[in-house]
């Protein structure tokens, strides 16, 4: 129906990478390969368009900045979600703003699905390690339980990636065709442009939103415009 073919090998590759990126954020090694920009680029590379993956990841970075992992705050998981978003944008037919908006929204949603699955995992980890006296201070038992927690985190990330990758790709493909007709042709890019710009505003507010932060933010914006002008 879509003319799109995802081989089992490609699906397995996405699931494998989603597992590793899911592990990176919390279990090991926390190198931030799971940041949207990196994970999105990897997703794009898998399907031949790293630039598309990076762009999707960069927008997810902007959106994700709303929830920094301070203290015990809950925040969206970025590894598997950005991997899927980057791959889905690379696989989109038009590479349009609407498709970009679709993958950013999908990535955001998957990020929260991942976040809730991590919350469940932490409850389990609490039970696993909660009473040190229960395993009698045996170093081998501590190591066994630690590895078990990592394996379960990996399985969790694999499940999130494997279950949501294909549906997201197909949804974005469908979204690109919506809504049909002359009005839709005008409306959909317009809505997408507005929504993307609003996301930009939200991201800017969150990263540079302190009142005393406005002057450097505005100066930075002016420098960006100057760079664009010079580059043109």
């Amino acid at each position: 129906m879509t003319g799109l073919e995802i081989t089992p090998g490609a699906w397995l590759m996405v699931v494998g990478l989603g597992t590793l990126l899911g592990l990176d954020a919390i279990s090991w090694p926390q190198t931030m390969a799971s940041r949207p920009m990196v994970a999105g680029t990897i997703g794009g590379m898998l399907f031949g368009d790293p630039a598309a993956g990076f762009l999707a990841g960069a927008w997810l970075e902007v959106v994700s900045s709303r929830h920094p992992p301070f203290g015990a705050a809950r925040y969206p998981e970025t590894g598997p979600s950005a991997l899927i978003a980057g791959a889905a944008f690379a696989l989109s037919e038009t590479g349009s703003t609407l498709a970009l908006l679709g993958v950013v929204l999908a990535g955001w949603t998957i990020g929260w699905v991942g976040s809730y699955s991590i919350a469940l995992l932490r409850i389990y980890n609490g039970q696993l390690m909660g009473d040190p006296a229960a395993f009698g201070g045996d170093p081998a038992e501590v190591a066994r339980r630690h590895r078990r927690a990592i394996r379960i985190d990996g399985a969790r990330a694999a499940l999130v990636t494997g279950a949501l990758f294909v549906p997201v790709v197909l949804s974005v493909r469908w979204l690109e065709t919506w809504p049909a007709g002359d009005r839709g042709a005008v409306l959909s890019p317009l809505l997408a442009v507005i929504a993307v710009a609003a996301l930009a505003g939200v991201g800017a507010r969150l990263l540079g939103g302190r009142r005393e932060g406005w002057p450097p933010f505005v100066l930075g914006g002016a420098a960006g415009l100057l760079l664009l002008w010079v580059a043109a």
Binding site: G44, M45, A198, G201
Partner: protein, 211 residues
């Protein structure tokens, strides 16, 4: 924490399985701090175990370290170093650097700081033991966090302009660009409820225009 500190404890209490078990029970409980700066606690606690002393003191010290390590790591890494590396990489990509190079550049730059911090933490903790609070106060981490804040704010402005320009479909149609700018400004300047209301009105107006 128990897993991380276990190799050190096995060396410290070699030949004394009872002391090892007791030490591991003390350290295998929940410990919530910044993951990179947890190495400070690992080093300091291992030093205390090595030097010997009252286990109650170890426990109180362990609890007291969590908050400061968490707060310092959040400010220096999550709010300072990480956004800086991300923003530099996105800016480079928007200026035409190959995406794989930009992503790899982020990975290398960020992890240079990350790995240094972990190594510094374990050494500082081991060297200072109970006095590690003073080391944290004298460390450059606080001033780094303070200095990076305006840099990140300025870079956010740069990146936002470059990213919008790099996004397909945002350069054409004066009407769309005007509405987009208005929406972005509304989202940036309005407080959260006002921003949501503004966006709702904007979308309602577009829906009415369409119908």
């Amino acid at each position: 924490m128990g897993y991380a500190v276990s190799p050190l404890l096995q060396r410290i209490h070699a030949g004394d399985p009872v002391a090892l078990r007791s030490a591991l029970e003390r350290h295998a409980g929940s410990f919530n701090a910044h993951p990179y700066l947890s190495t400070v606690a690992i080093g300091a606690l291992a030093r205390l175990e090595n030097d010997g002393g009252d286990p109650e003191t170890f426990q109180r010290f362990r609890t007291a370290l969590r908050g400061p390590l968490g707060a310092l790591g959040d400010q220096a890494v999550w709010a300072g170093w990480r956004p800086l590396c991300i923003l530099v990489a996105i800016a480079l990509f928007c200026l035409g650097v190959e995406p794989r190079v930009a992503a790899l550049g982020f990975f290398i730059l960020y992890n240079a700081g990350h790995v240094w911090l972990r190594l510094w933490g374990i050494r500082a903790g081991w060297a200072a033991g109970l006095e590690v609070g003073g080391v944290l106060n004298r460390s450059p981490l606080r001033s780094v966090a303070r200095r990076l804040t305006p840099v990140n704010e300025a870079l956010t402005g740069v990146v936002l302009v470059l990213l919008v320009a790099r996004t397909p479909g945002l350069q054409f149609s004066p009407a769309a660009t005007g509405l987009a700018t208005a929406a972005a400004l509304a989202a940036f300047f309005a407080p959260a409820p006002g921003g949501r209301l503004g966006m709702l009105v904007l979308f309602a107006a577009i829906a009415v225009w369409w119908i």
